[in-house]
């Protein structure tokens, strides 16, 4: 901070101040990255390499973590292993070196698919409902609009665990416990408040005159909404979708309390991956890596909308 303060002017930062600013930011960024790089490196280590001291930076890459993530294995005697036919694939080969045979698939893939279905399903619903409501609040005189909007926002102040108790009871009555539908509805409800707030900001920015002109040309209100407002709001909708997706993809508390098997998502599952004698860190790291990739790719592709999304949300609040 001191370095930046010595800049001559904020209007025209000079070269050396830019260089100092750049160096500090890049340094921070690199430190930020270390845990992430370490997750990836651990995912391609063999279990002994992953827990050696000092931590190994140079090692022979191994697919064991990924194999262990996707399979369950049973221990066998070396004699039994030797009597088996030649291993059919890399995973079988790696596994046999540890005197184990693959017993079947693990739960990771179904949990990962649950995450995909629930996160994308609830994001779609939240953005859909949020867009409609935001348009409603933005364009029409809604009685008690401010109170309604504040009420919508205040639903986010409750700790998830607090709401989880009655939702747990409610879902038990309705048979929605541990179902994807239940989780989608829940995440949609949590996200819709954010969606309404963010999208209202974006839609407020679109001049009303556009729709009025369209309606004079013979469009109905709904046609004007669909053909004029929606295309204009695309950026805002994309930004909102990212925020909703990040929440639904990463959510842990509700998922841990309300799902146990069928509808369990990856966040409560990954920490439970254990090997022989404790957490199987390469497998955990492999699961973490795979789990992080979609959101990472999505965010990098849409980073401009992300920046706009958070700033708009901030300005509008």
């Amino acid at each position: 901070m001191t370095a930046a303060n010595s800049a001559h002017s904020v209007v025209e930062p000079n070269r050396s101040s830019k260089r100092i600013a750049g160096t500090i930011v890049i340094l921070y960024a690199l430190i930020t990255l270390i845990p992430l790089v370490w997750i990836f490196l651990t995912s391609i280590k063999s279990p002994p390499d992953s827990i050696s001291y000092p931590p190994k930076i140079v090692f022979t890459p191994s697919l064991e973590g990924y194999c262990n993530l996707f399979t369950t294995r049973t221990r066998q005697t070396p004699d039994y292993i030797a009597s088996l036919p030649a291993p059919a694939g890399t995973c079988e080969e790696v596994t046999r070196k540890r005197n184990m045979v693959i017993a079947g698939p693990s739960n990771f893939l179904p949990r990962f698919i649950n995450s995909l279905v629930i996160a994308f399903g609830s994001t779609f619903l939240a953005v859909f409902l949020g867009t409609l409501a935001a348009y409603g609040f933005s364009r029409f005189k809604v009685p008690l609009a401010d109170d309604l909007l504040f009420f919508i926002l205040s639903t986010r102040m409750m700790p998830p665990i607090a709401v989880a108790i009655p939702i747990y009871l409610m879902y038990r009555e309705l048979g929605l416990s541990d179902t994807a539908v239940g989780m989608i509805l829940l995440y949609t409800a949590v996200n819709v408040s954010l969606a309404v707030w963010l999208l209202k900001g974006f839609i407020d920015e679109i001049p009303r005159e556009y729709e009025e002109a369209a309606m004079i040309d013979g469009y109905t209100r709904l046609q004007a909404f669909r053909k004029v407002v929606l295309p204009q709001a695309t950026t805002g909708i994309a930004a909102t979708a990212i925020f909703c997706l990040i929440f639904a993809w990463n959510e842990y508390a509700f998922a841990a309390l309300l799902t146990s098997g069928e509808a369990q998502t990856a966040p409560p599952f990954i920490p439970t991956i254990i090997g022989e004698g404790g957490q199987d860190w390469p497998a955990v790291a492999a699961g973490t890596t795979i789990f992080l990739i979609p959101i990472l790719v999505f965010t990098i592709l849409l980073r401009k909308q992300l920046l706009r999304g958070i700033t708009f949300g901030a300005v509008r609040k």
């Binding site: 001559h8 930011v25 930020t32 409609l132 348009y135 409603g136 709401v163 109905t220």
Partner: protein, 322 residues
């Protein structure tokens, strides 16, 4: 109910789009703006009522009873304000509130100072600033639980990278760097991870604040020969203050609810030094199964956050108007 409402809207929108049967189009055309407004807003409100407000009201009801969720068939008795009395007199709960306040204070302080400094530096627009900003943003996109779980590995004294790095720099033997097992260090272990994750968020909002300051103000200050230091304190900070306060509000509300990261890193331990309110709440609700008392605690928490947030928003609005 929600589904039928949203499908009405969907059908209506689709119908107009495809300009299918005249009768449908006419019917839709006939909708008044008022009807459309309600048609648009109702689905979101109904969903919130069903999944947020109804449970909240249920929680309020439960908070006055001795209901236990693990015995759904036992008779439910009203206990008046008994649960609230017990909650407010429970030293464990006060301890948890204090722990939470401690976390909120330190995480917000660190995140605001680092986040604002970074935003200030990025605002210099050095070469490649967009790229590095994107890199810095990555942690806030990740799952606190999944990443928190991995940080447990990084903190491991015998094998973890964190202890190794600290020991390299400081010369302290790794066996003494028990981040998660040590009563003094464990809260800081969580504060470090939270700061790593959420500083980018504060940074983004601060960046928005800095970008909203018009250049001509600095130009005018330049003409008046105001020193950079003076410009920073009389222009940059006050103009960005509403944004900084907003970031503090958002982070404050979020960290008040802190749960996943703590659960995965320490589970509230060692002892109960990192037991934040949400963890105590979970213990009361899903381990002791004292649903009524847990609900009373939840309501107390909600009222506390709601009240504090309201006071804070009033202050924020005053700053904004200045």
């Amino acid at each position: 109910m929600t589904i039928s409402h949203s499908s009405i809207v969907e059908n209506a929108v689709d119908a107009t789009a495809r300009a299918t049967p005249v009768s449908v189009a006419r019917r839709v055309r006939g909708l008044s703006d008022r009807a459309i407004a309600w048609l648009f807003i109702a689905p979101a409100i109904i969903l919130l009522l069903a999944i947020n407000i109804f449970p909240l009201i249920w929680a309020i009801y439960l908070s006055f009873t001795n209901y236990r969720a693990n015995r759904p068939n036992a008779p439910v008795q009203g206990v008046g304000l008994g649960n609230y009395q017990r909650v407010l007199n429970d030293p464990d709960i006060w301890q948890a509130m204090q722990t939470t306040a401690h976390f909120v204070f330190w995480t917000i302080l660190l995140q605001t100072v680092i986040g604002f400094s970074l935003a200030y530096l990025i605002d210099r627009k050095f070469r490649g600033h967009a790229f590095w900003t994107t890199i810095i943003l990555i942690p806030m996109m990740l799952s606190p639980a999944v990443v928190g779980n991995f940080w447990r590995f990084l903190y491991e004294p015998q094998i973890g990278l964190f202890a190794y790095a600290v020991s390299l720099v400081s010369g302290i033997p790794t066996s003494d760097i028990q981040m998660l097992g040590n009563v003094t260090l464990a809260p800081w272990a969580i504060i470090i991870v939270d700061t790593w994750m959420w500083t980018p968020y504060v940074m983004l909002i601060c960046l928005a604040g800095l970008r909203s300051i018009p250049d001509y103000i600095y130009e005018a200050a330049e003409v008046d020969r105001a020193s950079p230091w003076r410009q920073f304190w009389s222009i940059t900070v006050p103009m960005a203050l509403p944004f900084i306060m907003l970031a503090v509000l958002f982070r404050g509300i979020e960290n008040f609810k802190m749960f996943d990261m703590v659960t995965l890193l320490t589970g509230g331990g060692p002892g109960s030094v990192t037991e934040v309110a949400s963890i105590t709440l979970k213990r009361v609700a899903f381990e002791s199964w004292a649903t009524g008392r847990a609900s009373a605690f939840a309501i107390v928490l909600f009222v506390a956050v709601f009240g504090l947030a309201n006071i804070y928003v009033k202050a924020l609005n005053r700053v904004k108007q200045r």
